[in-house]
Subunit: 729 residues, 2 copies
């Protein structure tokens, strides 16, 4: 069943013309890209396909950069903590940093741009009480207070692009020159980036799509003295900082940033930190600038008759696709890496572009494509998780990266991708532009709101961390579920209330993080708005430590509504009688057992009104409550799995008081789902597992039929206005 051609991008490489042609044919590819470390031959560029060419704006031009080292990118760094043993304290502030990447900025006066902080008191040390030794990169504090801890916040030049540095070190590139990142906020760099692009466009007539990888500022990636990763924040604005930026910020916002506004006690404003006003202002300032400058490049690309595509990663800082200024960039497309359903939606939902593209896994690298390994398994898993999300909102294209020659050696893989590309096109052609059926609307509530759409609880892009997987499961589950999802911030609620069409709010995260909310939960407006909203019929789901902030007798500030709170020791003297789970409940109807991931300790039910759904080890891990006309659900943690997806869906429909709607379009088997498209009278019944599944399928009118689905199968059904399934399409 070949559906034809298109919507697929293939990586290619030197001396691989015939195989490229063959795979183009089999996978129906209509675009060819280069990759890190691959270049396309001219004859490949002449194939009947769009040509994507990777383009670096602010790196890879050492001939320019070396002449303008004063325009290097900069970072604010914090030294280690140093304990004063007497009144003099010498701090080796570069200790632990990688000198091949980072060089102290002695061009600008440290007394103006650096900060020495007494971390015992939090006070800034007077500039008269410290001095810098440029020879050994040290700061010496005089009049230190013995046994206080001190740090130095200092400016450095970044002299090595982090992505190239990573590849260079990982692949042992020897004496390959280090790409020097330059700052387009600087006059020469700014001019150069435009001039060079114009020239490059002329020199690359075969390029159809300029694949910006990416624009100006890399996410924060700092290496340690051993040349290994020391700090990585995929959202980090660290590399956007410079003296020029600080000065421009002051001009634009009317006040000056302190180093501490960036350094943030060494936490560097990661997205887990509740953002300060100063940092939000700084992000806004950078986003505005990046959008303005990127627009200029995009305009140049357009003038040359080519398309501008942005890679969502690497030097993407400030582009924030869900931010205020993204639309101003005027991009044609965004391409990003798809790790699963949530990352697919992060790409597919991006507004203000003509198309989006997902780069699927596995990457054609030797870590997967080695003899004895079966790359089909990873491809199948990646496709199944992504497909759920595609069925909610498809990316417009899919593609792969790496060495095509590696993949070519695995014929089963080539066949499998042939079926995937066909399946993708069939899905896309069927549902593109068609609104999928949604049973309810859920809002994820945290400090970031819309800006971090599908991007909550992430550290490095799509990597597993012990502290996040129990929350990431929420996004992954939602990414392919028949619910609408929006992301709202505390400030949204404070300023505008809860959006009218939201059925359920989810607040999920560890106490004190931006995702749970910390001190926001003492904001009177926030608390009363949500309390009244629930009381009047809203649904609220808390995961982990929702609404947590110790204040006036509660740890969970919405404890009264949630029906549970966390025991911190203060209320041990109060007897906890409510420990008996209810016998049966809508939420747990499909649950044979529970996996709360990291879970949460010491949660207890407040009264007999709380329905305990799971109690073990002396703790509540799952409960539902009622508050006025509204309902609440507490979940200790929700790592991604089919079981937990079902648990979350039931929780949502229960909290929204739409239990009947839950069964409208429904698969009795948790490994299968029904995606419905009312406007075209079609439904996709999918088997999300790699085993055969049998399930009862409910047709929207309460009528059911049994269906047997092959491993990973997607089956399209048409249904009449009465909701009757017709024969298979």
């Amino acid at each position: 069943m070949r559906n034809g051609r298109g919507r697929v991008t293939l990586p290619s490489q030197k001396d691989f013309l015939n195989e490229t042609k063959e795979l183009m044919e089999r996978w129906g590819a209509d675009a060819i890209r280069d990759s890190d470390g691959t270049k396309l031959d001219d004859d490949i560029k002449q194939l009947d396909a769009k040509i994507y060419t990777t383009y670096f704006v602010a790196r890879g031009h050492n001939d320019f950069a070396e002449k303008h080292m004063e325009e290097c990118q900069q970072l604010y760094l914090m030294s280690q903590f140093n304990t004063a043993h007497n009144e003099e304290l010498k701090i080796d502030f570069m200790k632990g940093y990688f000198e091949e990447q980072l060089k102290p900025d002695y061009v600008h006066d440290p007394k103006v741009y650096w900060e020495v902080i007494d971390r015992t008191t939090g006070k800034v040390v007077d500039i008269d009480n410290w001095s810098v030794n440029k020879q050994d990169n040290s700061v010496t504090i005089t009049n230190a207070i013995p046994w206080h801890e001190y740090t130095v916040s200092f400016l450095v030049y970044a002299i090595w692009d982090p992505t190239q540095m990573y590849n260079h070190i990982t692949n042992d590139w020897g004496d390959t020159p280090h790409d020097i990142p330059f700052d387009v906020r600087q006059p020469n760099s700014n001019k150069y980036m435009k001039d060079y692009l114009s020239q490059w466009l002329k020199e690359n007539p075969d390029t159809d799509v300029v694949r910006f990888t990416t624009f100006f500022y890399h996410f924060t990636l700092v290496f340690n003295n051993l040349g290994k990763e020391k700090f990585v924040d995929w959202f980090g604005y660290g590399a956007s900082v410079s003296v020029a930026a600080l000065d421009a910020f002051e001009k634009e916002k009317g006040y000056r940033l302190r180093p501490e506004d960036i350094v943030d006690q060494g936490y560097y404003n990661t997205s887990f930190r509740i953002p300060t006003k100063a940092f939000l202002d700084y992000m806004d300032f950078v986003q505005k600038f990046v959008a303005e400058e990127a627009r200029k490049l995009v305009d140049i690309v357009h003038e040359s008759g080519k398309e501008a595509m942005m890679f969502l990663g690497d030097n993407w800082i400030g582009t924030e696709p869900y931010g205020e200024y993204f639309k101003n960039i005027g991009l044609d497309a965004v391409v990003g890496s798809v790790g699963g359903g949530a990352t697919l939606r992060m790409i597919a939902d991006i507004p203000h572009v003509r198309y989006t593209e997902g780069r699927f896994l596995p990457y054609f690298f030797p870590d997967t494509f080695y003899e004895g390994n079966n790359p089909v398994i990873e491809a199948n898993e990646n496709w199944l998780t992504a497909r759920r999300a595609i069925l909610r909102n498809p990316v417009d294209r899919i593609g792969y990266g790496g060495y095509l020659s590696l993949a070519y050696k695995f014929p089963d893989f080539v066949s499998y991708i042939e079926s995937v590309t066909d399946e993708f096109r069939e899905i896309y052609d069927t549902i593109h532009g068609v609104e999928p059926y949604s049973g309810l609307k859920v809002a994820i509530l945290n400090s970031w709101g819309k800006l971090r759409t599908w991007q909550t609880h992430m550290v490095a892009h799509a990597l597993w961390y012990k502290q996040i997987y129990s929350y990431l499961g929420i996004l992954e589950s939602l990414s392919g579920a028949d619910v609408d999802v929006v992301f709202i911030s505390f400030d949204d609620v404070i300023n505008n209330g809860v959006p009218d069409d939201v059925d359920v709010i989810i607040n999920a995260g560890d106490a004190g993080t931006a995702f749970s909310g910390g001190h926001y939960w003492t904001n009177e407006k926030l608390v009363t708005t949500i309390r009244s909203w629930i009381y009047n019929g809203g649904g609220f789901i808390g995961v982990g430590e929702p609404t947590a902030y110790q204040h006036e007798g509660h740890y969970f500030q919405l404890a009264t509504a949630l029906g549970v709170d966390k025991e911190l020791g203060f209320s041990l003297s109060t007897d906890k009688y409510f420990v008996t789970p209810v016998n049966e409940h809508f939420i747990t109807k499909d649950s044979q057992s529970f996996d709360f991931g990291e879970g949460m300790k010491n949660i207890y039910a407040l009264s007999e009104k709380t329905e305990i759904l799971e109690y073990s080890d002396g703790e509540v891990h799952l409960a539902s409550g009622s508050f006025g006309q509204g309902r609440t659900v507490y979940i200790a943690g929700l790592p991604y799995s089919e079981e937990n997806t079902r648990l979350l869906m039931r929780s949502l429909y229960y909290a929204a008081q739409k239990e009947e709607a839950f069964y409208r379009w429904h698969s009795s088997n948790i490994y299968c789902e029904v995606h419905v498209y009312p406007a075209i009278g079609k439904a996709a019944i999918v088997n999300n597992s790699m085993e055969e599944q049998t399930t009862m399928i409910y047709n929207g009118q309460g009528k059911a039929k049994e269906v047997k689905l092959a491993p990973s199968e997607i089956r399209w059904e048409v249904f009449s206005d009465e909701g009757e399934f017709a024969d298979r399409d």
Copy 2:
């Protein structure tokens, strides 16, 4: 091997003369007591034994109390949290309370003594904005802010003594009158307590020891509307509160307490709360008063030629044996219930009395003494844990409680106690007044210090709670270990530094509790004092969340010294490389496996300097660090066991840098211990288990011999000045 007679107290009862005589003989008892629900016959009182008689000061005199209901004891209570849905909010403030125990105080003007608090903002509601309805016990707030939560703090009269209430309800005493507790701060009650005692002493010529059970104010014990325990705090000052007390406090301390100073957001200042200045003042005020008044009763007892003994429990509030004023009471003795080693030391270490007595388990009640059960097991466990502590500092007497007739039916039990009483006397006669060998001195550091000696992390007396057992193990381990133990407070350190002779400080507890210290760890003096002390060679052991308070880049404020911190999400972007345990370490030399109890999540090592001793589930649970000349140890939790006792001992000796001393007097087998008494040249080798054990015993000079010990055996050895063991004594 009969060692004779004495130091043992027997409970007796009516119609049990001959059996009492027989058991007196077999157990060597020299004192006889009554118990709750038992009275002694006259012929028993004529036996050759001291007679203890239970005496209630402020309850059990309803003929008086009923005439002076205005002198009933009082409490401040907090209502439930109530959400305002509009501007009027009616609060049923007695909801959830037991009306047979508690009655709102309408004698004193609620507008003066009550407080309505907006728990959303923490602000007190103006008294013009609420009114009380005495008919239905409600408060109605006008001008409430919709969706704010409100509570009422109100005064009640306590009209039923909690201990009698508990016994009454538990044993179904039907229409037995309820004991009304009266307040000796009131004029009539104060006069009555003295007059009645004088009269009672005359009427009870056979009583040798007046066993005060206890003085004036019961620990806080409040029942719910179902007649079950709602709130229990063995340290709670709740029942000491009254209008009279509040007025006297103002006079003495120069300021007035707010209801909130007592109610404390509904946490009622349990010992897990970091005490406020106001609450510390209030405790001081009550302790002073209680000591003064109790002294009067003790004087009356002494004038009659009898002894005054205090039961450590029930109405013990304000007597605080380790407090400022205890010595002023002038008691002859304290008796308390022994749940294990820590509670034994809590009694045995009490200063300013002539003797102490431990009431051992099991209590002679049908819950243990029923057909088919073997009470010897509980007795043996109780004895083994207590014996460890006795070998450090013996109580002067042991005793039992309950129905002797029940115990008499179990001949194996009678025999077992015969051996226990003999063993106790042998130990006592051998080591009483002899200082045991200590290898080092450890200070437990928390908010309470000396006042809560052997009383940290306790909720209800010696009960198991999920949130405390991982810390209580520290005290239990220490209670029988060859180390000196002192309890110091943060204020002690701030005002006086670390005592000179302390080798190791332990800070143990959950973040924010009085035991960990919360905001104290931002106190510059505290932090610098301890930092410098460690740096100059001190040892510091943190258990659970030591020194925890999020501030200036650390969660553990002594993270730099401890070498570990807890990941709250803020520093996820920082790579954690230090995950590999060391191969071998002094601390873990006897550890086959680990049990950290509740443990602690997300602890990570800060640098390669930290020696990780246990790493699992992506977390550090045991580590040691160095800081200057000092050493630190981190332990995730330490429930009591022989393994963990050994782990703690090794941690202490390691932190103190006295590893060699650890082996001086030493048992290779963790189930055995060596207690040494240099002044008399003797050592007790004990088998703390109920199985036979073989162990190498080191004799203080590095010489070892193998010893086989019978289950539970204690073996005395004499040793020469050269440390040679002689033959068995």
